[in-house]
């Protein structure tokens, strides 16, 4: 049974319904890189309160029927610091509920010297349009993780783990371990894992129901169903998962091979269940590990204002450039130099969402919202840069100006400090020399609670 990402919430009744079907495993892909590099770089985990309540429900429920409980990419980023915060929650839950189980934590922070050796040996390449890796980028990174396949999860299960908290892992890897270990053919195990890795996404009507995805494994197929009353799976809802965030709807690349769904059949077998057959898995020649690293990029401060003067619109580009020049001079007078900050104007109503890709070149808005985004070498530089760019926007004139100030705001809003900013520093693929080298880089730690 699969829960969508921990923290997003799920239906308690749907979870209880799923438990009544006696799953061997309750699992959740608890992470993503979609939130950007911040969680990995800072090591922070947001919304720990709701996360603890959900983990409490899930672990208590799963352990109550003797099911394994597995999550991957713990704490969103899956770095060791993120994982430690989630491990602390789970340890607290075990103590508070007087639960006894063997806990495995899977560590995925990678050793920098190891990465430098692999880099020197030509075993690391960019993933997509990303710069080549350098030793400087490795040294600058606050953390670098590798994405696990199913192997460390299987190792933890072999060691008798009841609850597994995984660091960074590919989404399907979180779910593939138990069926692979049970001898389910790799194609079926992996495709089922891929189908359930987004939880509710395999079901209809969809996200808002809080339903959970459920898979029954059979020797030559799997059956997908939805746990919440009134929800169901359709051939389309099940097939569509392989589309999502994937470079091909037919091939999903894992560390140990490729999930091939090109010859699959999706059959409605009634009662909201879908039978999936024809799934294949092509083992890779080499084990590959996706690497993710985040580096500190400065401190951010933002502020916001709006413009309603119709006479400013034809001059907007020049006016913003003049505002920038005036603000830079003003900051210089305060002893804050250009080298200490960068400022971006996100102009909503023109191209705030799409930037240079915006196809609408002639603005149609009668009012504009401008987000001032400042990144400084210190928090103070960022705060002052944001605040002064807004203040000077108020006083920078444009041709034909009648008003005395250009800045409107719903309430007095100074610079809002947002703290450290991180940037992706590593987004690469590492090819291992020996298949079992994963055992050296992904560490399984066991503790009996």
């Amino acid at each position: 049974m699969s829960v969508g990402s921990i923290g997003a919430g799920f239906s308690y009744r749907a979870f209880q319904q799923g438990l009544s079907w006696n799953p061997h495993v309750v699992a959740s892909d608890a992470g993503t890189s979609d939130h950007g590099p911040g969680p990995l770089g800072s090591g922070e985990v947001s919304s720990l309160g709701p996360m603890k309540r959900q983990l409490d429900t899930l672990i208590t429920g799963a352990r109550g029927i003797g099911a394994k409980f597995i999550i991957g990419s713990a704490g969103v980023a899956g770095g060791d610091r993120n994982l430690a915060k989630v491990t602390e929650l789970v340890t607290d839950i075990a103590r508070e509920r007087d639960l006894r189980f063997r806990l495995a934590t899977l560590h995925t922070d990678l050793d920098r010297d190891f990465l430098k050796q692999k880099l020197a040996a030509g075993k690391i390449r960019p993933f997509g349009a990303f710069p080549e890796l350098t030793t400087a980028a490795i040294d600058e990174s606050a953390a670098i993780v590798g994405m696990m396949g199913a192997e460390p999860f299987i190792k933890a299960l072999d060691s008798g783990a009841d609850v597994i908290l995984g660091g960074r892992a590919t989404d399907p890897a979180v779910f593939a371990g138990p069926p692979l270990r049970a001898g389910i053919p790799a194609g079926i195990a992996w495709h089922a894992a891929r189908t359930m890795d987004k939880g509710v996404m395999m079901t209809v009507p969809g996200e808002a129901t809080g339903s959970l995805g459920f898979i029954h494994f059979r020797p030559d197929h799997f059956i997908a169903s939805s746990t919440k009353e009134g929800t169901y799976c359709t051939p389309r809802s099940v097939a569509a998962v392989t589309l999502y965030e994937n470079d091909s709807p037919y091939r999903t690349v894992m560390p140990s091979g490729v999930i091939d769904t090109s010859e699959c059949t999706y059959e409605d077998i009634g009662d909201g269940r879908v039978r999936v057959a024809g799934s294949k898995f092509e083992p890779a020649g080499k084990y590959t590990v996706k690497l993710e690293g985040a580096r500190f990029a400065g401190y951010r401060a933002i502020t916001f204002f709006a413009v309603r003067d119709p006479m400013i619109m034809p001059h907007l580009t020049e006016w913003l450039a003049q505002t920038r020049a005036n603000a830079e001079r003003n900051l210089h007078l305060q002893g804050i130099e250009k080298e200490e900050y960068t400022v971006r104007f996100h102009v909503y109503g023109i191209n705030g969402v799409m930037g240079d890709d915006e196809p609408v070149k002639q603005p149609r808005s009668h009012e504009l919202a401008i987000l001032v985004d400042a990144i400084g070498t210190t928090q103070n530089a960022a705060d002052e840069a944001a605040a002064r760019h807004k203040a000077l926007a108020g006083h920078t004139r444009f041709p034909g100006q009648l008003s005395h100030n250009n800045v409107s705001e719903p309430f007095r809003l100074g610079a809002v400090p947002l703290g450290p900013v991180y940037d992706w520093s590593v987004w690469h693929i590492l090819e291992l020399d020996e298949w079992d080298e994963w055992e050296k880089i992904f560490r399984v730690e066991l503790v009996d609670l």
Binding site: G36, L243, P249, V353, M354
Partner: protein, 104 residues
């Protein structure tokens, strides 16, 4: 000529990791899917022009099991970097909505 927005059931715009964008265009039924897929309106050349990316980097898939068409293009700005304007790429689909679908 009808527009894609009038024929599609949904368009899911998102990141494929930090270096790629993905658009999943889904249709109510196989008829609508085949009408658009068969029209040849959605081509690498068109997508290349709409998003100013090299045509060789555009990938387009028809996916009959979900009555869907998938488009993958490179991101010009790495997701979550200071120059990004849409960290998870959820609102980058607008240029697709007005693609004209010729009758076949």
């Amino acid at each position: 000529m009808p527009l894609l927005r009038e024929v599609a059931n949904s368009i899911r715009a998102t990141n494929n990791g930090a270096t790629r964008r993905s658009f999943d265009i889904m249709f109510d039924d196989v008829g609508d899917f085949e009408r658009v897929w068969g029209s040849g309106a959605i081509t690498p050349d068109l997508i290349s022009r709409l998003y100013t990316v090299p045509v060789a980097d555009v990938r387009i898939f028809g996916f009959p099991p979900a009555n869907a068409i998938k488009i993958v293009i490179p991101r010009k700005v790495v997701a979550g970097s200071p120059d990004d304007t849409d960290i998870d790429g959820k609102q980058q689909h607008a240029p697709l909505l007005d693609i004209e679908i010729p009758d076949t």
